[in-house]
């Protein structure tokens, strides 16, 4: 495969350059001279960095909320995290703690402390967790934190250290180099389970060995600063990936800002419903200047872009005067970030080219939605359901985003016996239309409270509708 060949060639070049740096980097970690931007992994520096960052790295034991077999249940898991401020906040992955309802954190000094999810963001696979400071104070536990560095200046070939708790093994450090600092998996759409991820940033690729359990741990440079959050890898293939800390910084701030004691912090992003495609090799075809604009690959049905009249094969030139140039896949995330940062419900001026002619459109951004809606169990009926989001409705070509979609069934329960299938969209119950998850929950609670033994559902499966009769045993 080309992928592997390219990587090998790149590594060889970089390693040669690295050898020179190693000689220059022997000044030591505690040197008083101006900080070396790319200090090398001398034995002394590696141990210094490890000693400095280790105390901030934690193990997370989580009980995650999952819906399977028609029921909500808790699934235990472990992961890593890093304390990043003196208020006891821990940065980790969404896929470690994003759906956690119970978190315990093991600190460097082996103390185990309860923690709470502050907020999460599956789009960047990040989550912020808060140590229980009352417990910390009560037990008189001390902890330290690591500093957030910056990832923009990471160089390919630069030495980096990954720290975490692989397979739950307490604090483990591994050493490697940055193999690529703008990895994209385009055109593949990455997901965490079914949650979309990776659209708003490129990954740091490194050969630093990591394993399951390392997720959420820090990737640090040889100055001891966090430059990334270790996230995924191809086990045993020296192909591992971290979320750049520059991307994480904004997400952390937004999660903390939006969190309340009762609600999780979230990052609100804007959406125009435009699917973008790099213009590489297509400039001459569309007769446009190189590195000018981005190709509109598609427009989501009913989206602001569709309403404004944008079409596939338009060339998006700018949004509110800011150029949107994407020649290569690595540039996509930047433009997506720019769109995500637009103010909601405030019209923006979009310049485009269609057939070589300029086009000015006005569109009003809406809130970005995941195709994965909120999920609940309807235990007595024997299934779990999710809200049908606008994105899900588009993906499945549903007529609208009304109803709830069945996600799993309990064997032998009423829904299973009534031939309900995962993927069926419940449109009405007892003749009452189901607009969303809230409406579903309301009618479910009311009918179960009265112990209604026969419940008639109208469901949509593919293009067809069907009636289902639930014979419920309470």
């Amino acid at each position: 495969m080309n992928f592997f060949r390219t990587s090998v060639a790149l590594s060889l070049v970089v390693l040669a350059g690295c050898a020179t740096d190693r000689g220059a980097g022997l000044r030591g970690f505690a040197a008083t001279q101006p900080a070396d931007p790319f200090p090398s992994a001398t034995p002394q520096r590696v141990t210094d960095v490890t000693n400095r960052v280790f105390p901030a790295v934690v193990r997370l034991d989580v009980a995650e909320e999952v819906y399977e077999n028609g029921k909500r249940s808790l699934q235990r898991g472990i992961g890593s995290g890093v304390i990043f401020d003196d208020q006891g906040r821990v940065l980790t992955n969404f896929h470690v703690a994003g759906r956690a309802v119970e978190i315990y954190i093991t600190l460097f000094n082996k103390e185990r402390v309860a923690a709470k999810l502050v907020g999460d963001d599956h789009w960047t696979d990040l989550a912020v967790v808060q140590l229980d400071m009352a417990e910390i104070a009560k037990k008189k536990i001390t902890f330290s934190h690591a500093d957030l560095g910056e990832s923009a200046s990471l160089k390919v070939g630069q030495d980096v250290i990954a720290i975490g708790t692989p397979f739950g093994l307490s604090r483990t450090m591994t050493l490697g180099i940055v193999s690529n600092n703008e990895r994209t998996f385009y055109p593949r759409n990455e997901t965490i389970d079914e949650y979309e991820t990776g659209q708003f940033g490129n990954w740091i690729q490194m050969d630093t060995p990591i394993a399951p359990g390392n997720s959420g741990g820090p990737l640090v440079d040889l100055n001891g600063k966090i430059v990334g959050i270790n996230t995924r890898g191809f086990s045993g293939q020296a192909l591992n990936f971290a979320i750049p800390i520059d991307l994480a910084r904004g997400v952390i701030a937004e999660i903390i800002r939006s969190a309340t004691p009762d609600t999780k912090g979230r990052v609100t992003r804007a959406d125009l419903g435009i699917v973008l495609k790099p213009l590489q090799d297509l400039e001459s075809y569309y007769d446009i200047d190189i590195n000018k604009g981005v190709l509109v690959n598609g427009v989501d049905r009913g989206s602001p872009a569709a309403v404004a009249g944008m079409k596939a094969q338009d060339i998006l030139i700018s949004i509110d005067g800011q150029p949107t140039n994407v020649r290569f896949p690595e540039e996509l995330a930047g433009v997506r970030q720019r769109i995500a940062g637009l103010a909601l419900d405030k019209p923006v001026k979009v310049m485009a080219l269609r057939g070589g002619k300029p086009l000015e459109l006005s569109m009003t951004p809406v809130k970005l939605e995941s195709a994965v809606g909120e999920e609940r169990e309807a235990k007595a009926w024997g299934f779990s359901v999710r809200d049908v989001t606008r994105a899900y409705a588009n993906e499945q070509q549903l007529d609208d985003d009304k109803g709830v979609v069945v996600t799993s069934l309990t064997k032998g329960y009423a829904a299973d016996k009534a031939d309900i299938n995962p993927g069926d969209v419940i449109r009405s119950i007892e003749g009452k239309p189901i607009e969303d998850l809230e409406a579903f929950e309301k009618i479910f609670k009311s009918l179960t409270a009265e112990k209604k033994a026969k419940v008639v559902l109208q469901v949509q499966r593919d293009r067809g509708v069907r009636t289902a009769l639930l014979k419920v045993t309470y």
Binding site: Y285, N297, V299, D300, Q397, R461, G464, V465
Partner: protein
């Protein structure tokens, strides 16, 4: 290729026995001899993107002029008409003589395809009879071994184990099973009473359980094909009563098969609980999932979620399980005539009495296999004209213009560019696509003008547009 030693099957030459329908069963060897003039090798050449390949099946001559039937699995529904060429009949024992034929029609209502010699022949037809069998009746099947065994006939004996209900009535046998799919089944007086079923999910439905689709075309000479398995024989046959009607009025060159269509989809058989809820206790009913705009059901006023309880005043036929009811219902309608008026009894809710709705049957839209195709060989993909199911399945207007990607050659430029089977191509190089002829014209003109430049397609995939740039090979 696996060879079958002639000694593996006890084939004993026997003196010929006259074709007397009332005579009790002859011995197996004599039976084979008697069957010989009516059992032939049907063959055609698949000539498509994957190259050429000869496919063979056991054919049963049903008319003196050589009209022959084969199971429709021999000419699979998904195989394009234009890629099936050079139909022939070969007489076992005289493989030198090849009789050139035409494919007259594929009738998937009866799971039979019809092949007719181009020149009139004088052959010995088999006359199927309704038969009178029940559980315990002795039956015998006669099949044909592959070319490697000289296309010799062979026979198995069995007893009827169960008479099955379902969209296709089937007969289950015990013992050693039956000879290959498409073989003749005879009763204990040597009367042909059925055809061995192919193990295809379209018809192999027992108790609602469907055997996974076998998309390999039936071929005598494909040892991997379960339908041609001699070592692991099938155990079900279709009684002649199910297909006698089409044998009595087979299609012809002038009148190829045309099928009626009501225009409803995603029918559901009502479960016992639902029939009680709708006050239809003990009755068979099917619910309409969707009504296709402008077709007969729509014109007659049928709506999605309506429940059909009768056809022409008769209750719906019962299957073994509710899931079979829609299949039985659609198969029943499919055997009616285009233009025929049918009165459906409809209810819309538990309290509403049945109301009659008269529907005039339309003609079923042509399947994708009839669509014209174009193979862009340098890029490695095939485009074909759109069929009804392409636009309906994608929720597009019935007259939506475009072509459908029907084949991607592995490791081709099209595959590298991520073009997908099923992509609905709306534009080529920013020119709207209307049909495959125009697509081909555009493509060839572009190629002639710019042989090494990439082709850019705008396609619809899962409701979203994709722009696909396909770069041709440099050499």
């Amino acid at each position: 290729m696996k060879r079958f030693a002639p000694t593996a099957v006890a084939l004993v030459a026997a003196c010929s026995i006259a074709h007397a329908q009332t005579r009790p069963a002859s011995g197996p060897a004599a039976l084979l001899e008697k069957m010989k003039p009516s059992l032939v090798v049907a063959q055609f050449t698949y000539d498509g993107e994957l190259g050429r390949r000869e496919l063979t099946a056991l054919g049963i001559v049903i008319r003196e002029d050589g009209l022959t039937i084969v199971p429709s699995e021999f000419t699979p529904r998904q195989m394009p008409d234009e890629q099936m060429k050079d139909f022939k009949l070969i007489i076992p024992g005289d493989e030198e003589t090849e009789i050139e034929c035409d494919l007259i029609g594929r009738d998937d209502r009866y799971n039979l395809s019809f092949i007719l010699p181009k020149k009139k022949q004088t052959m010995t037809p088999l006359k199927f009879v309704a038969g009178n069998i029940g559980v315990g009746s002795a039956v015998r099947s006669v099949g044909m071994l592959p070319k490697s065994a000289g296309y010799q006939l062979y026979t198995y004996g069995a007893n009827v184990a169960a008479m099955l209900r379902g969209p296709v009535p089937q007969v289950l046998v015990d013992g050693g099973g039956l000879t290959i799919a498409g073989s003749v089944v005879l009763d204990d007086t040597d009367q042909p009473i059925g055809i061995v079923n192919a193990q295809n999910d379209r018809i192999m439905v027992i108790g609602g359980r469907q055997i996974p689709l076998n998309d390999r075309p039936l071929s005598l000479d494909d040892p991997q094909n379960p339908n041609a398995s001699i070592e692991n024989p099938t155990r079900v046959f279709i009684p002649a009563t199910d297909f006698m009607a089409v044998l009595n009025a087979p299609p012809s060159k002038e009148e190829p098969p045309r099928f009626p269509f009501i225009g409803v989809v995603q029918l559901t058989g009502l479960t016992k609980d639902l029939t009680e809820y709708y006050n239809l206790k003990g009755k068979v009913a099917v619910q309409v999932g969707d009504v296709i705009p402008k077709f007969s059901a729509d014109r007659a006023g049928l709506k999605k979620s309506d429940i059909i309880v009768s056809v022409d005043g008769q209750p719906l036929e019962r299957g073994d399980v509710p899931e079979e009811a829609p299949l039985i219902f659609t198969r029943h309608l499919a055997r009616m005539a285009i233009g025929q008026k049918v009165t459906l009894g409809i209810i819309t809710g538990p309290e509403t009495p049945p109301k009659p709705v008269e529907v005039t049957l339309d003609e079923r839209p042509a399947p994708p296999s009839r669509a014209k195709r174009f193979y862009a060989e340098d890029l490695g993909f095939t485009a074909r004209d759109t069929a009804f199911e392409d636009t309906f399945g994608r929720k597009l207007a019935a007259d939506a213009k475009g072509v459908v990607v029907a084949f991607i050659r592995p490791q081709s430029a099209a595959q590298t560019a991520t073009l997908d089977n099923g992509d609905f191509v709306r534009q080529i190089n920013q020119t709207p696509v209307t049909n495959v002829d125009q697509f081909k014209e555009q493509y060839e003109a572009f190629r002639k003008d710019k042989p090494k430049e990439a082709v850019v397609l705008e396609v619809l995939r899962g409701g979203n547009t994709q722009i696909i740039r396909i770069e041709p090979p440099r050499e």
